[in-house]
Symmetry: C2
């Protein structure tokens, strides 16, 4: 089926079919996994993993022990999270981090019969937070909008902090002033990996979320994990997971464990000294793409891109800029609808409106396949003639 | 890990640790899959299935085409569902049928700002429906209790019809009188397979749910499917799946496709003429277990079991009783708490209370491992001395 996918993309490219860079579908990483070959092949026998249970002794009874082990090993190797002893830190697996975000809303909402708690995030915020919070018109939580304009500090609230931010790629901290006892923070750290951004600190927050989609590129596996300090919060998240989906597919967990293990191996040079690590590969491809994109944008007086500071990355042991998974581009003429302009040039992207900001901003996926990225640059470079 | 599981069960059995028959963990089927051997081995390469998308051309864009094909093939083979052409019937995959139940609640709830729709089911009903309906205090739907006592026919409602029923194993129809335009029915058909019950008709309802857990025994895979006639309902269920988990793990879908294909092969005798089909195996094991259980219960004046009619099964071409995945047992002395009595004898089961009925009823899993079932009979046969 991957082979068919490849062929159909190539066919699409040769015709004038719109190029879809709206989703962050991470197919850029396919070529690395092809090079790794049989080391990342996953096999499971028909009689394995029939049970609902992965580890009845764990609070998170549906988490495969091998996945927990590989998650901790990778965080230690990368140095992006402070890994603690078992009873000080709970790992909860989810069907993607999407489901864990909802589990966290549930777990952090008040237990009494008060009004639904406000979920806020600083604009531009991830476009799916509002629909996740409001989907079921829950009496427990609701979307409260841009955290910058959230002032009702007497009420409890949940602030989503996405760092690096989706869509803008910048490193973030909570913005609701003080936060204090009434505010609870969920750190969505999907992009806090060395291919996207310099690793500057071992994070140690109360509730942190990660996802395989953005770490390894396996979006189709729907595996995310939460790292939670408070046992009662962890218990409530697990309860949500039980009722919502009775846990998470064992096949995907075991395959994700294998893939994370392969990444750890690639970083410790266990194969051949010349085999580049997964993060080196991702970093180099994204760096090159960003350089090419900045060249094209520089030639267009209409367009501008988010800038990132040079920072020391503890993982690579060197200074680097961020090379986010999305480009956050804007039209210097503030009255333009940039999504519409790009659509007219057969480039589909997500409008700034969806992220709680202005339509002269758009989010563009940088993790597409190579031939898609090249076509994107080619189409983008013709735009000035149309809209200047 | 399965090997460890086996060892730990054996250790548990030799000591006086409680035997857990509370969940319907379908480990009974492991021995069949072991016999099938390499035919049901599943392998996936590291570079496959990275994308969020399985089939962008399908309304259900996250459904693997191979899984859809094998689902239809198996339904045709078994004759339990009328399989229609593509635009007359939509197949939607979910993370178990649990998630699809919630997707269906969402899809069938009113679009306007009216009160939450009542979700009802005839007692004894599946113990998870109330908590699924009420988990998030949704403004769209809420648990409305036993369908027998639901009278507010002027309001719209959703009736869950579980057939064969969990916990009681009987074949069911809607009970809310008339139903009519205001009532919508969800058929939960998890157990409508030949190992559990005679297949008497090709069902053709508006919204039907199935799950791999109960069909093949792979509960750990978290794969369920909905068969939906109305395109707008299908679209809303798909939207729920997108926001809830961005679809379903590709690994599990592809493995489930393989396993369903193996079951179809086993029914059409493609291997050797003496290799019993999956359904024959399941039917024979459950028949034998039910006979043994009825023998033990017959000797105990305190206990009684649900009875089932003899019916003609179109799949086996013979008359048979049902042999449900759960035993629905009751204490003839109505004032007893049967769950507590069994717990005192180190048998953990689910109380009738949880199913909206009396505590003199309990639900007992019949799909456990062989050694667990034997221990269950052994412990059960000693009970009369204690509680008579």
């Amino acid at each position: 089926s991957t082979e068919n996918g490849t062929r159909s993309v190539v066919n699409n490219l040769s015709s004038e079919i719109p190029l879809n860079l709206d989703h962050g579908d991470p197919r850029m990483f396919e070529s690395y996994w092809k090079k790794v070959g049989d080391r990342c092949k996953f096999t499971i026998e028909g009689h394995e993993s029939l049970s609902y249970f992965a580890n009845p002794k764990n609070l998170c009874w549906f988490l495969e022990p091998k996945l927990e082990e590989e998650i901790k090993k990778l965080h230690k190797m990368v140095g992006n999270v402070k890994v603690e002893e078992e009873e000080d830190q709970f790992i909860i697996v989810g069907n993607g981090s999407s489901q864990l975000i909802q589990a966290a809303f549930y777990a952090l909402s008040p237990l009494d019969d008060s009004n639904p708690i406000n979920v806020v995030s600083a604009a531009p915020y991830y476009s799916c937070y509002p629909e996740m919070a409001d989907l079921l018109k829950s009496g427990l939580y609701k979307w409260g909008g841009d955290a910058h304009s959230f002032n009702d500090k007497e009420e409890p609230f949940i602030e989503m902090v996405t760092s690096p931010n989706n869509p803008s790629g910048v490193i973030r901290e909570p913005v609701v002033n003080g936060g204090g006892a009434k505010g609870k923070v969920i750190y969505d750290l999907a992009y806090y990996w060395p291919q996207y951004t310099p690793i500057t600190a071992k994070l140690d927050h109360d509730l942190m979320l990660f996802t395989v989609s953005k770490c390894t590129g396996h979006a189709g596996s729907r595996i995310g994990w939460a790292i939670v300090k408070d046992k009662e919060v962890a218990k409530r998240m697990i309860k949500f997971m039980e009722i919502s989906t009775i846990g998470v597919a064992k096949e995907s967990q075991l395959r994700a464990a294998k893939l994370l293990g392969v990444i750890s191996d690639s970083c410790s040079n266990v194969w051949s000294p010349n085999f580049e690590s997964f993060f080196e590969y991702g970093h180099l491809v994204l760096k090159e793409r960003w350089e090419k994109l900045r060249e094209v944008v520089k030639k267009n007086p209409l367009l501008s891109l988010q800038k990132y500071p040079l920072q020391y990355c503890h993982f690579f042991g060197d200074f680097s800029e961020s090379h986010p998974a999305f480009a956050w581009m804007n039209c210097k003429n503030g009255s333009k609808d940039l999504e519409k302009i790009l659509r007219g040039n057969k480039i589909l992207v997500r409008s700034g409106r969806r992220f709680g900001t202005d339509p002269n901003y758009v989010r563009i996926s940088m993790v597409c396949k190579e031939e898609e990225f090249n076509l994107f640059l080619q189409r983008l470079s013709t735009i000035k003639e149309i809209s200047d």
